[in-house]
């Protein structure tokens, strides 16, 4: 029995190793290729390192796209989206969790329609709406479709409902007004839920490509993913994979680092995001 157990454990370890290699190999080689001289592709002799370790690819990636600017744009896009979301989501979640009003369930269902018809598939009409509003090629255009979040409303409504109503009553007796109640009773007692929402929101918008690509034209406001696209299109013509991998790493590094720091929170947040 114990002999069998050891074999089984070894088998599981081998399987685990194989799966981990499949998942990690691409990242590993991205890093390697970005540090090799462009003239020495991996098929030339030594598969791991070239004749030298060089940052030349990074320098060239920086000539093609202004990554600093794209970073700033991504941060503004993601931060601006999240900031407004925090307000809209909190107010709606409080109303749906703790207030009674005519049409409450109907309005909640209307908001939940967002989960069933995600704005990603409505590219065509939303593109037109932005043009009609005269917002084409503005930062607002990037963010505005995401300012309302049904996922956030649902997540926080659930969290708010679990906060004892006695806390709100006590605050009211102490003379707190609505905004104070929301801020001190509800927001303060729902920080983990806010963190979960923020991680999901930030990581999904950081990665967004099609919408920013369609809705902007000026490099001054375009996020990292659109910069990466430019690098991809430049690389297409000559297969400069070194600089492409360098650029890719520049784009993905912050999320990978953020994940290493917040691993547990990420895993827990994403487990709640199936309804996104």
């Amino acid at each position: 029995m114990s002999h069998f157990y050891v074999i089984r454990r070894r088998g599981a370890d081998a399987l685990k190793m194989a799966i981990a290699i499949f998942f990690l190999l691409p990242l590993f080689f991205t890093a390697l290729v970005s540090l090799r001289p462009e003239t020495e592709p991996v098929t030339n002799g030594n598969i791991f390192f070239g004749s030298e370790i060089t940052l030349e690819n990074y320098r060239r990636a920086f000539i093609i796209a202004p990554w600093g600017l794209h970073y700033l744009n991504s941060i503004i896009f993601v931060g601006g989206t999240l900031l407004v979301q925090l307000f809209t989501v909190t107010f709606a979640a409080y109303a749906f969790a703790r207030m009674r009003f005519f049409g409450r369930n109907f309005l909640l269902m209307a908001i939940l329609l967002q989960l069933m018809i995600p704005s990603g598939v409505l590219l065509v009409q939303n593109f037109r709406t932005i043009n009609i509003l005269g917002l084409f090629d503005t930062r607002i255009a990037l963010m505005i479709p995401y300012w309302g979040s049904a996922f956030g409303v649902l997540l926080l409504r659930q969290t708010f409902r679990e906060i004892p109503i006695e806390l709100e009553e006590a605050a009211r007796i102490d003379g707190a007004n609505l905004l104070q109640v929301v801020r001190h009773v509800y927001v303060m007692n729902a920080i983990p839920a806010y963190l979960a929402f923020a991680l999901v929101s930030v990581s999904s918008h950081w990665n967004e490509f099609l919408w920013p690509f369609i809705i902007t034209r000026s490099e001054e406001i375009r996020p990292l993913t659109v910069g990466l696209n430019k690098l991809i299109k430049t690389t297409d013509q000559g297969a400069f994979y070194g600089q492409l991998m360098a650029g890719t790493l520049i784009v993905i590094a912050p999320l990978v680092i953020l994940f290493i720091v917040f691993q547990r929170q990420f895993v827990e947040s994403f487990a709640r995001s199936g309804i996104r």
């Binding site: 685990k16 691409p26 709606a92 309005l107 409505l122």
Partner: protein, 310 residues
């Protein structure tokens, strides 16, 4: 009783009556503007041919009923040919993601469910791809699959195989796109299975092994039935997500050659600014909405209702 007193101030001012609506309004208006209204406009525009010419001088859009859809499902039509091939690809892509990606997610969850050394590293290895931008993931794989200097062919060559044209051969491109998507998504699926496995009490396994049930039997008769809901949930979301996952094509040959790996939303994206195709683009969006809506709705009815009613 207490709750009623709380929300019924002594004198009902208009402001306090309107309060909940004011709080809900921003979200509601945004959802109406960017989700509900555009969905209805899509229906309307899918039933019309676009206006010719601009402004007052041009003809108004012509109502063609289901004409656009007829064209799309006509293999002889220039757009129908592209649409049908793309729709087929999208279904294959979605089914493959569910059929391979979901079991892989379950397998990794089973392997990583018990305490073990370096658990954080293992979890990182499987999960980090799902945090990457699709276009970045695709860019990484465009190197791995590249014809002359790619890693995949370098590995094949060490086994004496001449190598494959992963992104140029029309029979292989869709497969490459599927492999990338599975690599990208399996870690995300794993998370749901890990959560599901956490909810299974340990002691039922203990009593099962006392009764002489081996690991295979425990998996087949305990784990799988108890994970049924999670499995169904993950299968449904992965299928729906597959219909919205197209940005990788931007770095993988743009759906070509000859649409052999094109996907529905990407075909829509490619034609978004071509005026003459406006009706088709909207009709295609209707098909896309139909699929996504029916799956998210069934998902919602099956699972979310318990959560929201709780």
């Amino acid at each position: 009783m207490a709750r009623d007193a709380l929300h019924r101030p002594p004198r009902k001012s208009l402001l306090s009556l309107l309060q909940p609506y004011i709080l809900v309004a921003p979200t509601l208006i945004l959802v109406l503007m960017f989700n509900v209204a555009p969905a209805f406009r899509t229906i309307n525009d899918s039933l019309h041919k676009p206006a010719r010419g601009l402004g007052a001088a041009g003809k108004p859009p012509e109502f063609v009923a289901l004409g656009n859809f007829q064209d799309l499902f006509d293999d002889e039509h220039y757009m129908g040919k592209r649409f049908l091939r793309t729709l087929r690809n999208t279904i294959v892509f979605a089914l493959a993601t569910v059929g391979i990606g979901v079991p892989l997610g379950l397998l990794t969850a089973l392997l990583l469910n018990r305490p073990q050394p370096l658990l954080g590293v293992w979890r990182f290895a499987v999960f980090y791809p799902s945090l990457l931008p699709l276009i970045g993931a695709a860019s990484i794989w465009s190197f791995i699959f590249s014809d002359s200097i790619g890693l995949a062919n370098a590995i094949l060559k060490t086994f004496g195989h001449p190598g494959l044209n992963w992104l140029g051969d029309r029979n292989l491109v869709l497969l490459s796109v599927i492999i990338i998507n599975i690599w990208k998504q399996a870690g995300y699926f794993m998370i749901f299975f890990l959560a599901g496995l956490q909810n299974i009490p340990r002691d039922i396994y203990e009593s099962a092994s006392l009764d002489g049930a081996g690991p295979a039997q425990q998996f087949a008769y305990l784990t799988l039935p108890l994970l049924r809901r999670t499995l169904l949930f993950v299968a449904v979301i992965s299928f729906t997500f597959a219909f919205q996952t197209v940005e990788q094509l931007q770095a993988l040959g743009e759906g070509g050659p000859a649409d052999s790996a094109n996907l529905l939303l990407y075909l829509i994206f490619q034609n978004i600014s071509e005026r003459r195709n406006w009706g088709y683009v909207n009709a295609m969006t209707i098909v896309l909405i139909g699929v996504v809506l029916s799956f998210t709705l069934s998902n919602f009815l099956l699972f979310e209702r318990d959560e929201t009613d709780r």
